[in-house]
Symmetry: C2
Subunit: 189 residues, 2 copies
DNA sequence: ATAATTTAGTTGCATGAGACACCTATCTAG
DNA sequence: CTAGATAGGTGTCTCATGCAACTAAATTAT
């Protein structure tokens, strides 16, 4: 972390949220806008790509369930709540996705010995298998998409995205604590 | 129906799609996987962030409509089809989003003098206004998220994402021409 | 020990987004 | 002029996700 950027020209911070009184224009602003535009573009493209992939390799793992399986396989059994936190999602979503995985026989709900209310979600052997297959297919596809990228490019890209994700997570939790968990419901008008 | 029995443990890949006979393992593979994981993570986080933003600044522009307004404002009136192509979406989606914008008075449907079937979508003054306001708000938010990033970081990030998006677009159109537009419907099961 | 409260997870309902199929109006070839 | 192609719009489906309300279990207070 590089301190607080461009050193806020010596202005006292306003109350409430930090929200520095920056000029809002200038190079920094334009750069931020540029990256935002690329991110917006990426969101569309990636969603479409993911959907297409799921349609082609439609083998039962929903797009959204993959990440749950990912956590379960790589980190072992977890509770619903822990999963939700890990992937920054609502417990209800996790519950549903997990339910689908259970129906497909890829995940098991075990009783949590420590707490009767909770249950541990764990990947079944078949779940692990399925996940690995999926993972390989996904990566193979990705390698086609990034066929022209050097190893350095890939590493740099991964690093950059990692940083970006870090910021987003920080922001997410920051908001969460600051605004006392304001609901975010979709509702526009 | 999950898996057809995990398709042969370690056999050379079948024909069908191009699927180059690369080793699939090694550094390149791992790097591809790393970037893919970051992208997956990013997709979740960005979606959530976007939703939250929309909830906070709920002023009538839907998330998905923003990009349409973006094209319209920055490139002038466009047909539905052209818009759909520009944002890699279905015409039906564009039609609906545009309809919403029209209802909000941000976009106008003008008759295309050259073709009676078509109509030109154009941003109204209010649409431009609204777009600019939104754009500023979005960028301001982004600047908070990336408060710690230097200008160089931002530029590098934008460049990288630009490249990545280029690859995705290439891939998208490639598939489009190769498989003669295979439908991609969500349908799992 | 029993009541009150807090917590984990599930389910009901709603929203957003996107895609396909189908329909209508128009345009363009033959 | 009729037959096919095309541009847009609508109906309907699916996925993903969130909040609210509810149930059941655990914890705290009385």
């Amino acid at each position: 972390m590089v301190t607080e950027t461009r050193s806020t020209p010596a202005l006292p911070i306003t109350e409430d949220r930090v929200r520095p009184p920056e000029p809002l224009d200038g190079e920094h602003y334009e750069n931020a806008e540029a990256i935002l535009n690329q991110l917006t573009r990426f969101m569309r493209l990636s969603k479409r790509a993911a959907t297409r992939f799921a349609a082609t390799h439609g083998d039962g793992i929903e797009q959204a369930a993959y990440i749950i399986l990912y956590v379960l396989v790589s980190e072992g059994p977890r509770r619903t709540t822990a999963l939700a936190e890990a992937i920054h999602s609502d417990t209800s979503t996790v519950s549903r996705q997990a339910g689908a995985l259970v129906r497909h026989g890829l995940v098991e709900r075990q009783a949590d010995p420590a707490d009767g209310r909770a249950c541990l979600l764990a990947a079944t052997p078949r779940g692990v298998e399925c996940f690995e297959a999926h993972r390989r297919a996904r990566t193979a596809e990705m390698m086609q998409v990034l066929a022209n990228w050097s190893d350095t490019d890939l590493r740099d890209g991964a690093d950059l995205l990692d940083r970006l994700n870090g910021e987003l997570e920080r922001y997410e939790t920051e908001i969460h604590s600051n605004t006392t968990t304001a609901p975010l419901k979709g509702g526009n008008r």
